[in-house]
Symmetry: D3
Subunit: 332 residues, 6 copies
Amino acid sequence: MPRTFVKQLTVPGTVVEQVFQVPAKSLRTSRKGSLFITARLRDRTGEVPAVMWDATEALFAAIPQDGYALVQGRVDTYNDAPQVVIEAMRPARDDEVTLADFLPTGPGDPDVHLARLKEILQEVRRPALRALLDAVWADDTLLASLKRAPAAERLHHAYLGGLLEHTLGVAEAARKLCEHYHRLDRDLLLVGVLWHDLGKTRELAYAESFGYTDAGKLVGHIVQGVLMLQERIAEVRSGGTEFPEELAHLLRHLVLAHHGEHAFGSPKLPMTAEALALHHLDNLDAKLHAFWRNVDDDADPNRRWTAWNKMFSGALFKGFDELDLEDEDAAE
Amino acid sequence: MPRTFVKQLTVPGTVVEQVFQVPAKSLRTSRKGSLFITARLRDRTGEVPAVMWDATEALFAAIPQDGYALVQGRVDTYNDAPQVVIEAMRPARDDEVTLADFLPTGPGDPDVHLARLKEILQEVRRPALRALLDAVWADDTLLASLKRAPAAERLHHAYLGGLLEHTLGVAEAARKLCEHYHRLDRDLLLVGVLWHDLGKTRELAYAESFGYTDAGKLVGHIVQGVLMLQERIAEVRSGGTEFPEELAHLLRHLVLAHHGEHAFGSPKLPMTAEALALHHLDNLDAKLHAFWRNVDDDADPNRRWTAWNKMFSGALFKGFDELDLEDEDAAE
Amino acid sequence: MPRTFVKQLTVPGTVVEQVFQVPAKSLRTSRKGSLFITARLRDRTGEVPAVMWDATEALFAAIPQDGYALVQGRVDTYNDAPQVVIEAMRPARDDEVTLADFLPTGPGDPDVHLARLKEILQEVRRPALRALLDAVWADDTLLASLKRAPAAERLHHAYLGGLLEHTLGVAEAARKLCEHYHRLDRDLLLVGVLWHDLGKTRELAYAESFGYTDAGKLVGHIVQGVLMLQERIAEVRSGGTEFPEELAHLLRHLVLAHHGEHAFGSPKLPMTAEALALHHLDNLDAKLHAFWRNVDDDADPNRRWTAWNKMFSGALFKGFDELDLEDEDAAE
Amino acid sequence: MPRTFVKQLTVPGTVVEQVFQVPAKSLRTSRKGSLFITARLRDRTGEVPAVMWDATEALFAAIPQDGYALVQGRVDTYNDAPQVVIEAMRPARDDEVTLADFLPTGPGDPDVHLARLKEILQEVRRPALRALLDAVWADDTLLASLKRAPAAERLHHAYLGGLLEHTLGVAEAARKLCEHYHRLDRDLLLVGVLWHDLGKTRELAYAESFGYTDAGKLVGHIVQGVLMLQERIAEVRSGGTEFPEELAHLLRHLVLAHHGEHAFGSPKLPMTAEALALHHLDNLDAKLHAFWRNVDDDADPNRRWTAWNKMFSGALFKGFDELDLEDEDAAE
Amino acid sequence: MPRTFVKQLTVPGTVVEQVFQVPAKSLRTSRKGSLFITARLRDRTGEVPAVMWDATEALFAAIPQDGYALVQGRVDTYNDAPQVVIEAMRPARDDEVTLADFLPTGPGDPDVHLARLKEILQEVRRPALRALLDAVWADDTLLASLKRAPAAERLHHAYLGGLLEHTLGVAEAARKLCEHYHRLDRDLLLVGVLWHDLGKTRELAYAESFGYTDAGKLVGHIVQGVLMLQERIAEVRSGGTEFPEELAHLLRHLVLAHHGEHAFGSPKLPMTAEALALHHLDNLDAKLHAFWRNVDDDADPNRRWTAWNKMFSGALFKGFDELDLEDEDAAE
Amino acid sequence: MPRTFVKQLTVPGTVVEQVFQVPAKSLRTSRKGSLFITARLRDRTGEVPAVMWDATEALFAAIPQDGYALVQGRVDTYNDAPQVVIEAMRPARDDEVTLADFLPTGPGDPDVHLARLKEILQEVRRPALRALLDAVWADDTLLASLKRAPAAERLHHAYLGGLLEHTLGVAEAARKLCEHYHRLDRDLLLVGVLWHDLGKTRELAYAESFGYTDAGKLVGHIVQGVLMLQERIAEVRSGGTEFPEELAHLLRHLVLAHHGEHAFGSPKLPMTAEALALHHLDNLDAKLHAFWRNVDDDADPNRRWTAWNKMFSGALFKGFDELDLEDEDAAE
């Protein structure tokens, strides 16, 4: 039976029998002395309050907080909003949990994104860099992480596959820009784009929920990326391909300087043209993505401005409907 | 006789008879009591010291400081560097002065740049914006200023025609980027690119040397640009074309927010996708241009780093020669 | 029947039949299965909770959230605080709503303030500026806005008429200061005072509640003020009075620089004596007004310090009662 | 014989016989082997280069660097600028040196300023504060310092008597402002004005040149002012007048918070209305004074802008001559 | 009967009869019309909710909010957490309240700490400083305050006796450091350590709860410390011991500069070696203490990171258990 | 013949025949037409001007600018200061140049410092860390660099051996501090001290003069240190000793966070107690060292304050002589 997502639980009477995450639960006593449970149920589309009458302490204790439970019940309304009335509930087995139902996912297909990214990187010409790329493409574990990791815990591309989507977005923009700025070293810029956030596969945890790993908090994705580069370069060299130390310095610089300012955690400021370009393209891709995501997801579709947004220090403007070009889609 | 520029005055014995600007002059007495003049002569390629033996107070007084003088003399060497020994000198007449010899010029042809800019802007589709562009293209005075103005007093594109070259550079990059980010409103972005620095035609003075006008210092190019927009919109409306006030707000926002932060003089932060894109593309074009200009002009070609640079808070890296791709030009 | 304001609804049993704004409402089910409504009712003096037993879904849906409702009921007590028990309720018609009951108002009379402001501005002597003022005084729409607009959404003079009161306060202080600093150009300073926040009539919305207009968020009151100046100057010139562009630059500078720092949204720093004076007087008037308003409105009259205040980065000191001068009022 | 100040030494042939300060001196050997001295001579109006032919090592050693010398000679011209040719020179005796010739002085008369300041402070009504003022007026040493000290080493009122002039300027402005803002406690504000910079009499050294004392650098004028207040309050109390500790706290706060921000060395932010007013009036008086001083003293009277000024982060605008009111002086 | 602290009230059925502070109380009506009170009870170990059925308005009014009440009742469970069911309650008499039960206390014994601090300060050798210390040790009121005051309202050592513990911690570290850095003037540094936060005895209120005094907010502990120094020096001098003003300047500087930066409220930056050392040792002791306190008190012992912490701008790392040295305690 | 250092070239007539570095040289023509050379000669104690009469273009060209020359001549006086009159000069051969004469050296013996550092690090107990240290002690190249490198280009310990001296200074202070703060993990802190600046052996160039390497500018010593750690850990692991990845994270964190703030180039803020301690001890050692170096080297021994110092944002106080403890040295 296909899942009915939380966002779809709006029709009173709908019957549910599926797994939910349980971010909050509480055992309460009614005035008459009977025990009941109130809880919140969630999946990747949102949360819904729930109530279970005639509960027991044992049942309450069995449900793991922040863990997964198999729930039987039906949709009801309380205070003008949906609520699930639980009839039965037990902890879910691992094989009953589909993680993709609980972690946000992006709109695209990671395999398609990866294929396109490889295609773009075929433009790289220096043998040392090609060998470095081959080492990446041959590492299935790394590619699996790249396809799965989010690009951030919350700020932008914060869903499964977001890191790859962001990397590809910057790569596409970088390619375009090189068509205009001929003096940019496309080889360096494109490999820099690939590597700039690669350390996030180790910085972020994304198995059950999004967060930072110990290594992420103690070392950070910028320096993790440099260490991962170190490992691959060693591999390339031990494979017999010369990899000049100068080239390594330039790639390290691209990774280290891509946040653009000390205040944002970059230990070095951009001092090559490619590092300047990478910094701006990375920033712009993240900002535009976050902009449109915020506009699309804004709670109130009737207002022309989103709620105040910390990343942009202001509310975002959604646009004047009356200015829309009528045949825009046709024209594209 | 074609001019021999200051940079070319390296061979002792070379005869000169041409106009120079005189940024410094000084009347001195030799030990034997005779008067002599020491001065500096400049054109747009640099400065050279000069000396005139057997001068008079009257002749000294006649030469306007910071003005232009017609000089006859020959090249000599002093302290291991060239010096001009002046034989005769008088104030230059206006018709003897070719300003282009004294103000720095860019590498390109403004007419070619303008034609290309118009070509790109033909992609604009909304009638109100097309009318606005027509009003600009019909204004010969404005176009003459646009072709002549520098983009800045010193930081980037600081030469005649620099404003147009910078505007075109951002427009090219914006076009490219729209190919990847389909949700950007190309109409708005391109007109925003054209207008973002247009106020510099009034902010900067560039008749005899580069500097700021009174209006530039009191009002600034950002608000000047908004006022110039106001004038053209009035023109469009009085010509019978409807120009929605909402559209005017969006264009004003693009101009007002293009510096991206309050600290850089923008009274508004970017709150539309196009304003975000314009801010980053403007910044990147200026930075890349300044980067390469600094690298190309660095005083010491034997060092791999330029001198410390205020705009970038560091020395710029020129690159490792050993990493150059051999057939790069052929490949492009 | 005169309105009984929310602040006065303290006596249980008081009967009410009047319009309230409804900032929050909620439909709930009692244990016995009957529906009831809880809501909050507000006017410009505050908010009070309310409950309506025996409600229906249709009635609940008819009451517009954030809109106005005509309410019949009586005052009761719940949790030691007043609550309104609603007996009947329906959406209010526009002609039943007196907006002044719902938007905060200031202590003074706008007509008196405007008359005094005009009186002060009669000291202006230059014909061009007098013509500019005449254009303002002749514009009834603008004057109506000036008399009605608040000076800010929340920080200071945040009530109907606040903009005018603040403008007048700065004008009075400016007059006084000119008596001591003779070199200040009183003409320029006084017209700058009038104009410095005039753009707020377009930046702020104040019909139903306080907020920012689209133009306010996209353009801002500083640049709006410059555009409004542009319109009036055009009017003056088309009326045959010469208005030197230099004078326009100085007035624009006064408006653009009055926030004093880039960080507060001024695209220009004050570079004339009058701009310096305007910046400090504007700031001081706003700060003193906010200071006393916070002291007067502080929730706990028994404490010598207000709650922590963001505008002042601290708690404000109300004073030591024991130091009060006994006959202060008499002495003034 | 009245002094001919350095600024007046422009006519070749003028004979001088008077004391100069000698900020720089150098003993040199001519090509022919004879010794000569080059030096710079200064008084409070500026510096002039000087040369003494046929010098000896003994004479050179006798002239104290930065000290005072009695010089006999005449004015000559060198490199288009005046120079003094010294015929005889010896160290000056203390009684030959008039310090007022070497330290910059202000335009006004300190005794007049002090009388006016006392007059304003007669408006203070609380007995404790009146006793405090009496203690100040009775302290001739303090008054002598107050009449002599500059208000700053360089930034504003940097001349003998500047501290008193600045204090009086703020007091006048404070009086005016109290006429408009009736809730300001005039007693507190006026005594705060008197005391806010009083610590500068101990922070700054102004006997031979302007600088900071050891106490000034280690403790600073703000805390010095609080310590001086402590001494006077002890005096008042031991004289039998009650001085409430609460009143002392408020005065200390006025002194401690008058710089307005931590970044400018205030250990406390203004948290009373009087402290807010004092901060702004102090700042404005210093800024306006520095503004006009810079405009009046600007090197190039033909330019409409002063040189770039660090205090204002920009060049200052001197005004458009064409906008001057013709009969301004008559009208005042 | 020894107190059962709030943290220990976990076993349902436990009987309590003791004084609690009442930070919140509320009178409510049940559906059946009877009155009941809900409240929160606290002591220095935390807060617990409480309910009293069958209350009266008179009883409710008698309990002072934020005051102390003698409570009889028993522990129950509500919503899975302990709650106290109150059977009887009345305001507590002063002699029934043991303040140490309600204000947090530190782990050590103030008398032991003070003895150790005196011992360290016996290393001071200059007679003037020894006399200053004698004046402190002879002042029982000051010592009582020093033993009782917290070091801060919340950030570090925020418990009774915390100021003394912090002062001692810095003194121990300073002694150690002087063993390595021989050029540090141990006399000055140690007296500076004693005095650096002494003003907190006047800045902070710690009789019933922690907060700032009026003097604390208006003047601050830094300047209070300088004033207290002033009083003691006067005492020393009147006792016949010479106390050089230079020495006073150096001590004042140590107190004034110990926050290290203007932004943290120091009116002076450290300009002596001892002031530099004091600033770093003070900062390090406060940080380490806060670090370990946060780690020890973190709500979730199963996580390796504390919650996000404002003082450190991040979560603190508690350590990897697997890296612990097994016999560490034995080895010390 | 032992070298006579530049600082000692004060007696006219002294004969010199030794190598100097030549930072500046210039070929000039006398009035009579003969060529002469003016130059500056330097060694690690300073610079002295020099002149060589009767020079030739060939000889001038042969002397390498910034290179080394063997100079024969004698000391003379010019403008009251010493000057070397050169009689003969030729480029120096490599074997004639003793680099230690030209690079500043510290006061201590690197071998003694290294032995002491090893001694301190013997306190480390965890086997993995002991193996890491063994790998360092076995690497002669690294030790040679550590003994030779300066700790900074200019700010502190800017001389040969400075890095080791600074590392030892921090280690001594860390040991002392661990005696007081028992919860600090001495193992981690001491290894962190050793490693925190180790990357400077690669960041700084110190063969002929001090500066930054390409790797230093592109990557920086912080990340270089992490990469060097990576290499050694790999070595330890390949030697059969287990090195937990958790331990590696903690060491990386110590290196990455030791600058304490993003603004100073740390990509991570300190989030362990040891990282906090390392940051403060590193900072304090650098500051104290720079403080005393500046005080000792100050140009004017008669003033109590050094010149304004950028590192400390002020002039440093040297102390009051009259407060010196008479028998201080004896007492230590």
